[in-house]
């Protein structure tokens, strides 16, 4: 429970409370965007440097395959549950499912921080796994949607741009590669910005995310109780699966928890714009509310401690 009192989480709660109380506190949008770009740069660099130090291991390969498999399979499971229990039409179910198959960079970063503070840091290569898991679910989601509608991307070009060329994917992967190239020594001169400043800027970003998440929930329409329930059950189930898989392939506790967090988290940076383009008739308010306003706060506050607990049990 200690982790709930870390400044990062407290700032998130402050933001959420302020927005619920209808305070006019707000970050300028360009700042929110810049903070998220910064975090992706920093985490990418860090991952690259860690992998540069340890080399490409079988663990890395196993975790990558596991991550890819999860991000392809999770959307299929969630899709059918959303169609059945969630009562969504095929298009909306597919759009939401893609979000849950993909990952939330910020949830991963917060988890990473908490695990590191608790003395069980995940392996650096999980950042590569994170990058790998961002886009496959988009493609799976589109295939699922295609069963239910005739609409498709107007060009393969657009699909490419919205998946592997998505800004956050490019930045994360690019920084990772730069980290690989420069290694620990080359990192030193830029460490004050990308490492020393990381925690503090993460606080500011989570303050902002608290504001955005709570504001999003106030704007939410079409959010049935069933869907909100699913937005809590999905991370719990996917997180548990992530723990099982991590334990099965022999990852350590921290790394297993990180895999669980990736499985449990739902994208709200890379996937929404892709879905708006690929499935414009899906309800953007719906998938943003579920991933950003329900699943994200759940994972940040309750989910991460649970997955950590499960990982400790299983590993």
């Amino acid at each position: 429970m200690e982790s709930l009192l870390s400044p990062v989480i407290l700032f998130f709660v402050l933001g959420a409370l302020a927005a619920f109380a209808r305070s006019d506190l707000a970050f300028p949008e360009p700042i929110s965007k810049a903070l998220s770009l910064y975090l992706m740069c920093a985490i990418g660099l860090k991952g690259g440097i860690l992998v540069a130090g340890n080399g490409f291991t079988t663990d890395l390969l196993l975790a990558a395959v596991a991550g890819l498999a999860l991000s392809c399979l999770i959307p299929i499971g969630t899709f059918f549950v959303l169609r059945g229990f969630g009562r969504l039409d095929a298009t909306n179910a597919a759009a939401v499912a893609a979000h849950y198959g993909s990952v939330s960079v910020v949830t991963f970063i917060a988890g990473n921080q908490i695990l590191t503070d608790s003395g069980i840091p995940p392996a650096g290569y999980m950042i590569a796994v994170l990058a790998l898991m961002e886009t496959p679910a988009i493609v799976v989601g589109l295939i699922l949607a295609r069963g239910g509608t005739n609409l498709k991307l107007q060009s393969g070009n657009e699909l490419l741009r919205e998946t592997v060329l998505n800004g956050s994917v490019v930045l994360l992967t690019g920084s990772f590669i730069i980290g690989l190239i420069i290694g620990k020594d080359g990192f030193e001169p830029v460490a004050p910005v990308f490492e020393t400043g990381f925690n503090g800027l993460l606080c500011l970003f989570l303050l902002d995310m608290g504001l955005l998440a709570a504001r999003r929930i106030r704007l939410a329409r079409n959010l049935t109780a069933r869907l909100v329930l699913l937005a809590i059950v999905f991370p719990l189930v996917n997180g548990t699966i992530g723990c099982l898989v991590g334990a099965a392939i022999g990852l350590d506790v921290g790394t297993t928890t990180a895999l669980a967090i990736l499985a449990a988290s739902a994208s709200y940076i890379a996937v929404p714009a892709a879905m708006r383009l690929a499935l414009p008739e899906a309800d953007a308010g719906l998938y943003l509310s579920l991933s950003l306003a329900v699943t994200f706060p759940f994972n940040i506050t309750i989910g991460i401690p649970i997955y950590t607990y499960l990982a400790k049990l299983m590993v």
């Binding site: 504001r215 704007l219 329409r221 714009a273 414009p280």
Partner: protein
């Protein structure tokens, strides 16, 4: 100086990730240009929204403006029809005069 009367200024409020499709459509319909403007938020039958750059603009909108001659405008509006519902577009058409140095709002004009 060329003053062209009876042009149609078409303003389309469209989700940020989708504006390029509107542009492609407009450029096909003999439009010779367009301008994009930002928005802060709004509300309609589909609910309330506000500008938010974190979620990749999925929930943000921009105003796409193109000025066309009457006939090109009506062809453009027809071409927009299938997008109106799916993209949730809000389109207004205003009659304007256009003042430019040389040609008019569409390339195949006076």
């Amino acid at each position: 100086m060329v003053i062209k009367s009876h042009c149609k200024k078409i303003e389309i409020l469209v989700d940020a990730p989708l504006w390029r499709r509107i542009r492609d459509q407009a450029m096909e319909m003999a439009s010779d240009g367009y301008t994009l403007q930002p928005t802060l938020g709004g509300e309609g039958a589909r609910g309330r929204w506000f500008d938010d750059q974190v979620t990749g603009g999925a929930g943000s909108k921009v105003v796409f403006t193109t000025v066309l001659e009457e006939e090109a405008a009506s062809r453009f509006l027809d071409a927009l029809e299938p997008m109106l519902e799916a993209y949730g577009l809000m389109v207004t058409v205003t009659t304007v005069e256009v003042v430019r140095a040389v040609s008019g709002p569409s390339s195949n004009s006076d």
